[in-house]
């Protein structure tokens, strides 16, 4: 370990955070454009060519908005909750590899920030932390809608986290390692989605519920809870929740791509490692499109059905999948 190594990590960290925040801005535009096209509209097209400056305009508008703090709110927690929500979203993708390694300025640079041997455990831990921000935001607002929304979000997220955890164990079993680099590399012969379609499906559904996306966006059901846990938030604090939600969308697409869709692997990636980030980007864009498509297509699930689906269908199914995978891999050999 030397100074150059630390400098490299700092540059990579800044780059990753810029990519995630920039990605957040453009995923909002992407979502609005795709939704508009699905509903036979055009979508934002005034700010810049094809509306590419729309996220910038939105951001500037939000900076100059008044921030309301309810008189009876717990001021400290009310301010800290959005920060606590956005931090896990920003750091969760730190263990996802973008490629193998490239040579740049005569220096071999690995295309990932951290390759730790407990990467999958890290993912589970960080997703759990992000629940705190939402629960505290709902509670500290001292508002009936916000409290209910925060409680619902918490219960929903912890319920689906079980299925998510078991679905993430399956690639670990296939690869025999928790490191995401090893998991991606062991998908060289065949992507895990073709061997384990059920695990991928469970991962995808549970991840949608985990980030409160439609059709599981019950915590934010406008018709009954106005805006759920962030009812009382405005201005940049609201922007932080929004940012966390969209960065989490990108994050689950990246993690899902790495666990099941071969991550940065694609044709000719062994000869030309610089193609890795491109393949990952394409896969993430496709998964994001599917997420937006689902939002445009499916109605919201009722809350009791949602909880029962998580506990009575997804969780036993995911558990069974893990065990059957173990039995098949040991008895049949793999």
């Amino acid at each position: 370990m030397d100074g150059a190594m630390i400098l490299e990590w700092v540059i990579k960290s800044i780059f990753l955070i810029l990519v995630m925040t920039g990605g957040f801005a453009y995923v909002t535009l992407y979502e609005r454009k795709v939704l508009a096209r699905i509903q036979v509209r055009i979508g934002p097209n005034r700010a810049g060519p094809f509306g590419v400056l729309q996220p910038v305009a939105d951001g500037i508008k939000l900076i100059f908005k008044e921030e309301l703090v309810p008189a009876k709110a717990d001021k400290l927690i009310f301010t800290l909750a959005p920060v606590l929500t956005v931090i896990p979203a920003l750091i969760i993708t730190a263990v996802v590899p973008w490629g193998t390694e490239v040579t740049l300025f005569g220096r071999t640079i690995k295309l990932y920030l951290a390759d730790i041997n407990i990467a999958v455990l890290y993912l589970m831990a960080v997703t759990s932390i992000s629940i705190y921000g939402i629960a505290l935001a709902g509670w500290s607002s001292n508002n009936k809608y916000a409290t209910l929304g925060g409680l619902r979000a918490t219960a929903q997220m912890i319920s689906y986290e079980l299925a998510l955890g078991f679905a993430m164990i399956v690639p670990v079993m296939m690869a025999g390692s928790m490191s995401l680099v090893d998991i991606v590399e062991s998908q060289k012969p065949v992507w895990f989605v073709f061997v384990q379609p059920l695990a991928f499906l469970i991962y995808f559904i549970a991840a949608l519920a985990e980030i409160n996306r439609s059709p599981f966006d019950m915590p934010e059901a406008e018709q009954e809870l106005t805006a759920g846990y962030h009812t009382e938030y405005s201005g940049m604090k609201f922007a932080l929740f929004f940012m966390a939600e969209y960065i989490k969308m990108i994050a689950i697409s990246m993690i899902g791509s790495s666990l099941f869709l071969g991550g940065y692997r694609g044709p000719f990636v062994d000869q030309l490692p610089a193609l890795g980030p491109l393949y990952l980007f394409i896969k993430v864009a496709i998964v994001l499109f599917v997420i937006i498509w689902i939002r445009a297509t499916l109605p919201r699930i009722r809350y009791d059905r949602l909880m029962q689906f998580g506990w009575k269908v997804l969780f036993p199914l995911a558990l069974l999948n893990v065990f059957v995978t173990g039995v098949v891999l040991i008895l049949v050999g793999g």
Binding site: S13, A94, I116, S128, L151, I158, E161, T226, Q308
Partner: protein, 118 residues
Amino acid sequence: MLEKYLPLAIILAFAVFIGFFVVILGTIFGPRRPTERKSAPYESGMIPYGPGTRRMNVSYYLVAVLFILFDIEIVFVLPWAVIFRELGVPGLVLMGIFLVVLEVAFVYAWKKGALEWE
């Protein structure tokens, strides 16, 4: 060994900085003219009544307790998942017994109605 985690500490520091920076940005540039009406809790235009946080449904506690139980189960399954090929059939049998014991508890909670919502 531990230096592998240093990049995570670095990105965590940046993430904390971004979070507070954005909040401070909004505090500096946003106007702040609170009135009594504005800082009342939002209840769709009705006059707010009663406390904002009240007692919650007991189902939420049940879900939280069950979550702790099964989340720890996941943490126990993870190390097995990494080396289950070396452990072979004995490891599989032991893991099967462990899972069955926990699933008995799950079925019990199910039959007792802990997973029902109204």
